[in-house]
Amino acid sequence: MKIHYISGIAALFVVAVHIIMRLVMPFSMSLEYENVIANYQNIAYAVLLESILVLIAIHGFNGLRIILLEFRQNIAWENGVTVFTLVAMVALIAYGTRTIIIANGLG
């Protein structure tokens, strides 16, 4: 459970910064294409987004794994659930990282 609590607490801080960034100007203005691209092109913010992506993916899929393991206990199920959640986590991180990298390079 340590990884679950550590990723949860860390995610709380980075998500708080992410939300505050949406509130430094009127909410609808903060979502305008130019403002969002400017956010992604800021290296510190891109690192923050990547850390949110990794932390929440770990926390979320580990949480799902815990829930699924509560349903049934046998080796095939436990291994299957662990492999499924790991693959889904890596796929989501890869997809989100692709967005961050491409948006960071847009002019």
């Binding site: 609590y5 349903f71 491409i102």
Partner: protein, 156 residues
């Protein structure tokens, strides 16, 4: 007196009987407040994971240019989109606040000390601190939803 083998046969034949599966997991009516908090923590967690996956896919429209981004925004910047976001705000606030309570519980804080089980056998661990924690999480979630609604609907 039953033999070891009889015990094994008995336990094997009954091993699925107490397994209620999803029905037991979704039943909030038993075991009191701690059970409801357990139920809400898991439901909000699954909901937030689904939202997170959707959010990552939704924001990827950014890489297809301004038109794709604006088309995606049009879908979300509606009354229903705002109501959905308010639900996300509420569930994430509850999940975070209740998660902090669980972190304290896991590390042995605010669970009381073990004592002799006396009538009416109230569990020491479910004390006023734990119950207050659950209520604080619910109140914080409601406050965050009101704040979110104020910001989201002020722009319309």
């Amino acid at each position: 007196m039953k033999s070891f083998n009889e015990d094994r046969i008995y336990s094997n034949s009954n091993k699925r009987e107490n397994r209620e599966g999803l029905k037991a997991w979704l039943n909030p009516s038993r075991y009191g407040w701690e059970r409801i908090s357990y139920w809400l923590q898991r439901l909000t967690g699954v909901f937030l994971l689904i939202y997170f996956v959707g959010h990552v896919i939704e924001t990827s429209s950014l890489v297809d240019g301004k038109d794709a981004w604006n088309a995606m925004l049009e879908l979300t910047q509606t009354t229903w989109g705002h109501l959905f976001l308010i639900l996300v705000i509420g569930t994430s606030t509850f999940h975070s606040a209740n998660g902090i309570r669980l972190l304290f519980t896991e590390t042995g804080r605010a669970v009381g000390k073990p004592g002799r089980p006396d009538y009416p056998y109230s569990p020491v661990s479910l004390n006023y601190r734990q119950k207050s924690g659950i209520w604080i999480a619910l109140i914080l979630a409601a406050t965050a939803m009101l704040y979110g609604a104020n910001i989201l609907f002020a722009g319309e």
